[in-house]
């Protein structure tokens, strides 16, 4: 069953009606509803098109967080072969908010690392809603080092509301872990490419996405702070998240203009969750393309280009 977002409610009504009609017809052979139902389908389709033609930043946040959106695990399952998960930070624990391991993409060995939010109550709790603790970042650092040692490109899939705000996380050095992970991203002599597949939440995202190439799904977001958090600080009212989402310029489209996002991966009409397979396929194509662009470059070149990219950021702004 489709999970509708708040702004999709009118759509839910139309699609619901069409479904009801067809259900009635299934019970009663005399009824011919197909014409009417098809008209409703058309209406729904038009509405979907118009809703998604120009999503506001806040609506994009909701789409980016949609629970049925493909998650890290889905991409790994569908796009990679021989995925061999590697666990633990060798110090404290294995953080289930972060998954990763060696795998093959188009038969070529790579390291894949990502945030995983989980799909149901049980797995969401186990994955801590994709909010990593220091161990998650330290696991990522370890896997990046392993990749670097054996010359495997690193692919990161970013989907996190942010780093976990917890007591133990702070005590074990959440900030240091994030800082070291970002540092590791910048040290790698192998290509690092990153795709923001849902939410790029602040430092928790930077720790994975300081990459040679950063791609973003069309309706994904990447932000210094959540719109709710920004609203409660700057507007002193968490309900002003629409305004905050607008002001923060957190969409893939704005980030592309600012040079933070190198590539936008188109989503199916109605968002990634409406056609998960097509979304995953599009991400796979983008990964192959970006890896190809970095193929054959020396370690110094890969590292140097990555540094230069970040040092040069901020030369372009956005007009109001």
């Amino acid at each position: 069953m489709t999970q509708y977002l708040e702004f999709e409610k009118p759509l839910a009504e139309i699609e619901g009606k069409a479904e009801e009609l067809r259900a009635l017809a299934r019970e009663n052979d005399e009824m011919d509803v197909e014409k009417e139902a098809a008209a409703l389908d058309k209406k729904a389709d038009d509405l979907l098109k118009s809703l998604y033609a120009d999503l506001t930043p806040w609506r994009k946040c909701q789409v980016a967080r949609h629970q049925d959106r493909p998650h890290c695990q889905d991409y790994i399952d569908a796009l990679f072969t021989e995925y061999t998960p590697l666990a633990g930070d060798r110090n404290f624990a294995d953080d289930h908010a972060v998954m990763g391991g060696i795998a093959r993409l188009d038969d070529k060995p790579v390291m894949v690392i990502g945030h995983e939010k989980g799909n149901d109550t049980k797995s969401r709790i186990e994955r801590n809603f994709g909010m990593a603790r220091p161990e998650g970042y330290r696991k990522a650092i370890r896997l990046m080092e392993l990749a670097d040692k054996f010359g495997l490109p690193v692919i990161t899939l970013v989907d996190t509301p942010g780093a976990y705000p917890g007591k133990g996380a702070e005590e074990r050095g959440q900030s240091e872990a994030i800082a070291r992970s970002t540092e590791k991203c910048l040290e790698l002599g192998v290509p690092l490419i990153s795709v923001v597949i849902g939410e790029g939440g602040s430092g928790g995202a930077v720790a994975f996405a300081t990459a040679n190439k950063v791609a973003m799904l069309e309706h994904s977001i990447y932000s210094v702070i959540s719109p709710e958090g920004c609203a409660s600080i700057l507007w002193k009212d968490a309900e002003k998240m629409r305004e905050a989402a607008e002001a923060l310029r957190l969409t893939a489209q704005d980030l592309n203009k600012l040079g933070v996002c190198d590539e936008i991966i188109k989503e199916p009409l109605g968002g990634a969750h409406r056609d998960r397979a097509a979304t995953i396929e599009a991400v796979g194509k983008a990964l192959t393309k970006m890896l190809g662009q970095l193929d054959g470059k020396s370690a110094d070149k890969v590292r140097g280009d990555r540094r230069k990219k970040y040092l040069d950021l901020g030369s372009k702004g956005l007009a109001a």
Partner: protein, 306 residues
């Protein structure tokens, strides 16, 4: 009290009085409540003479207490584009910047200076909490990169004093992108084999701790400084329990292995000199407040630095 301290007092005094510290005014220590005479408090680097509580100290005053004779030269910071997102909340970002500049007399939230500290050539960057909460902006990122570049150019260590609530929201993603940018500055120092020392001051939180403020070769904090990634209120709301006494304070972090040292502000200069001279394999320093170097001496140290 040795002759050097005797000699230097007037210089330091004149530095503080130059900033028009009102005469005959008292400040109440917000920890112990003792009424402290302004001049006495300033001489003690804004540390309560009764209970050792560390009150905020201005970025410029901080520099004056560190450099010999209070003399330093500012390092120029490349100006970033203004208001890249045309950000507006209840107030325009452009207006907020204007107000902060007027209030502080500074361009943005980071000052970079070079000079001698205990006759040791150093570059020092000080984050200015009074400028929009010290928040990490493109300017702050540029300042840290400029500080690292200057340190490399002159083969000096970089000492950074952090104080910030995090990245500057009004610069959106470009504020956040100062995390990788400043990390590159730290890596440049590492490549050049130069020490990078961080002194965390109250408060240092958010994206600042999650980048350059936690990547020092040596991590020092001022007593009782608040240091953390997430805010205590957010953590309490998330985990649904009260946080222990002293949580996210310097001493707590020291206990949890996150810092090398917690050092009183009044001891910082000597300690920093000791540390950087050892890391730079220089002979032990003359301790205490030294007068500003004469032109002659300055040239000599300049030459040894080459």
């Amino acid at each position: 009290m040795n002759w050097i301290t005797n000699y230097v007092r007037p210089t330091i005094n004149s530095l503080f009085s130059r900033r028009e510290v009102p005469e005959n005014l008292w400040t109440k220590c917000d920890n112990c409540g003792t009424m402290l005479f302004h001049r006495e408090l300033a001489e003690n680097q804004n540390v309560c003479t009764n209970c050792d509580h560390h009150m905020p100290i201005g970025a410029r005053d901080r520099l004056a207490t560190l450099f010999d004779g209070g003399v330093f030269v500012e390092v120029a910071v490349p100006e970033p584009i203004a208001d890249p997102l045309q950000f507006k909340d209840q107030k325009k970002y452009g207006d907020r910047i204007k107000d902060a500049r007027k209030k502080t007399g500074e361009k943005d939230a980071m000052l970079v200076a070079e000079g001698e500290m205990g006759r040791t050539p150093v570059v020092v960057a000080v984050q200015d909490f009074s400028f929009m909460g010290g928040s990490m902006s493109m300017y702050v990122g540029n300042a840290i990169i400029a500080a690292a570049e200057r340190a490399i150019e002159t083969k000096r260590p970089l000492i950074l004093f952090s104080a910030a609530g995090g990245a500057r929201m009004q610069e959106g993603i470009l504020g956040l992108m100062q995390m990788p940018r400043t990390t590159i500055a730290v890596q440049m120092l590492k490549d050049a084999g130069l020490p990078y020392i961080v002194v965390l001051t109250h408060p240092t939180t958010g994206g600042v701790t999650a980048s350059y403020a936690m990547l020092g070769d040596v991590q020092i904090a001022e007593p009782n400084a608040l240091i953390g990634f997430a805010g205590a209120r957010v953590i309490e709301q998330t985990i649904g329990e009260k946080l222990p006494e002293g949580f996210q304070r310097a001493e707590y972090l020291l206990d949890h292995g996150m810092l090398d040292r917690v050092t009183k502000r009044t001891d910082l200069k000597d300690e920093l000199v000791t540390i950087v001279r050892m890391l730079m394999k220089q002979p032990p320093a003359i301790k205490g407040d030294l007068p500003a170097p004469t032109a002659d001496e300055a040239e000599k140290t300049e030459a040894t630095a080459e």
